[in-house]
């Protein structure tokens, strides 16, 4: 005899293990059709999928395609089972949010930059910006509170990387695509970053893709790896 609760569980089950999925995403690298990549992957709720591969293997390109910043020549991605063909571009891009390798800031203070995502009509329709939570996350990432009123364009590389992460988390996407987020950080701040990321992943129906050169992922659990490699020929 099956109870109602079990029934619900089996219904929700596939969504939890396949929160974000991409199938046969194929693209070529460089201007010619010389080197091609074909890749599939899955990230369940709370998972971190680390994308690995040699330099120039197309890791950043993969993130840009998955975030719908670059055109996708072939393949399909799904969010909680729903194809990206069914989801409008702006909605997809804020839900499967890609944090650029080089942090981007707008004219204004750090505080104004953190509130920037909430300037779009799509975000205004949802939850408002929570400055308290952002300050808390800055604190967790070992950033001084005085940074809030500093000109964002004058941040150091390590500060910029962490402020950009705070801004991405404020947006609260379902899937966070991170392109070497810890590249500019020392060991202590890198560990803080992974701690904050782990805390965020546990706080809801969330997953992350992480392009990284493998510097150890202390604090992150449920890490799986995906290695991509470009193939010669057409």
């Amino acid at each position: 005899m099956i109870e109602a609760g079990d029934d619900r569980q089996t219904e929700l089950g596939p969504k939890l293990t396949r929160l974000f999925e991409f199938q046969a995403i194929s693209y070529s690298l460089g201007s010619g059709a010389g080197r091609r990549v074909m890749v599939s992957g899955t990230a369940g709720e709370g998972d971190v999928l680390v994308v690995q591969g040699p330099s120039g293997a197309g890791k950043t390109t993969l993130l840009r395609i998955l975030a719908r910043l670059a055109p996708c020549p072939g393949g399909e991605a799904f969010l909680a089972g729903e194809s990206w063909r069914q989801i409008p571009g702006p909605v997809w891009r804020s839900t499967v949010h890609c944090l650029a390798q080089k942090p981007v800031f707008f004219d204004g203070t750090v505080g104004a930059n953190l509130a920037m995502p909430f300037e779009t009509r799509l975000m205004r329709a949802g939850r408002p910006f929570d400055p308290g939570l952002a300050r808390h996350r800055m604190d967790e990432l070992l950033l001084p509170a005085g940074l809030w009123d500093q000109d964002a364009r004058t941040l150091s590389g390590g500060e910029a990387a962490r402020v950009a992460l705070v801004r991405a988390l404020a947006l609260d996407p379902r899937v966070l695509l991170l392109d070497e987020p810890a590249a500019a950080l020392d060991t202590v701040s890198r560990e803080a970053l992974y701690r904050v990321l782990a805390g965020w992943l546990q706080g809801g129906v969330r997953a992350a893709l992480l392009v990284s050169h493998g510097e150890g992922y202390s604090g992150l659990d449920r890490v799986s790896f995906l290695t991509i490699e470009a193939q010669e020929g057409d």
């Binding site: 719908r68 910043l69 670059a70 055109p71 571009g89 920037m116």
Partner: protein, 266 residues
């Protein structure tokens, strides 16, 4: 005091060739290598303006509404084409958008000025309409060329910011709004500057022409005020229309930035 136009006879006109010879002598003496272009330019000035003079005399004499319309539309086409051709670094074909922007702003402002403000009889009087539309076109053309160039160079320089806005769920318009604003401002600035210094730094060509043509300077000034303000209005509208339509060409159908914005210029 009688206001009259003093005619220039053929002999007097031929005498101006001596002025070119002075410039030619300077070029030859200093080996500037400008002699050929100077001669070619002189010939073109004579031929082009003479032909335009005869064409205008014919058009003014016929004074047919359709002919006036055809001439102005042809002028719009040439201005649109010139504006787009003079913008290096702007990818894609903008001639059609440029024509729409120029024709729409020029026709609206030009019609208001000729029909409502100057109000000749008949309302399409070629002697009034063609020079008025021509002055609007020349200035709108420069304005939209500037704003188109600024839109594209701004998008290239700030591609990272545009993409960041897109990842926040921005629509293409929300992502480029600030760049569009700067582009329109760039297109309007020369016109606004000329509003500031008109009459102080230089006497505008049209006013000078009317004074030479024997008009009362006080009346010439009135015409000039109308012309300055209509140019400002048309330049603003032209830039607004062109940039408002053309920013979409920076994006794919999915609302992402076109790859060419992120790549080096050709």
């Amino acid at each position: 005091m009688a206001y009259t136009v003093i005619p220039i006879s053929n002999l007097q006109l031929a005498f101006t060739v001596f002025l070119v010879l002075i410039a030619g002598a300077v070029s030859a003496l200093l080996r500037l290598g400008l002699l050929r272009s100077l001669l070619w330019g002189t010939v073109r000035t004579f031929v082009q303006l003479t032909l335009v003079g005869y064409a205008l005399a014919y058009i003014f004499a016929v004074n047919n509404v359709w002919l006036v319309w055809a001439v102005i539309t042809l002028m719009c086409y040439i201005a649109a084409w010139t504006a787009v051709r003079r913008t290096p670094g702007v990818a894609g074909d903008h001639s059609w958008l440029s024509f729409v922007a120029i024709a729409a702003s020029t026709y609206l402002v030009g019609t208001i000025v000729t029909v409502l403000i100057i109000a000749p009889h008949p309302w399409y009087e070629a002697r009034i309409a063609i020079p008025i539309f021509g002055m609007i076109l020349g200035n709108t053309m420069n304005g939209i060329a500037l704003s188109l160039e600024r839109l594209h160079s701004g998008a290239r320089a700030r591609a990272g910011e545009i993409e960041a806005m897109l990842t926040f769920g921005a629509t293409p318009w929300e992502a480029v709004r600030s760049i569009v604003r700067e582009a329109i401002r760039a297109g309007m600035t020369p016109t606004i500057n000329s509003l500031m210094v008109v009459g102080l730094v230089s006497l505008p060509g049209m006013m000078t022409g009317q004074i030479l043509g024997g008009a009362d300077p006080r009346l010439a000034v009135r015409y000039q005020i109308v012309v300055m303000l209509m140019i400002a209005a048309a330049a603003a509208m032209g830039c607004l229309i062109l940039v408002g339509l053309s920013y979409k060409k920076l994006f794919t159908g999915d609302g992402a930035l076109q790859p060419f914005v992120l790549q080096s210029r050709e």
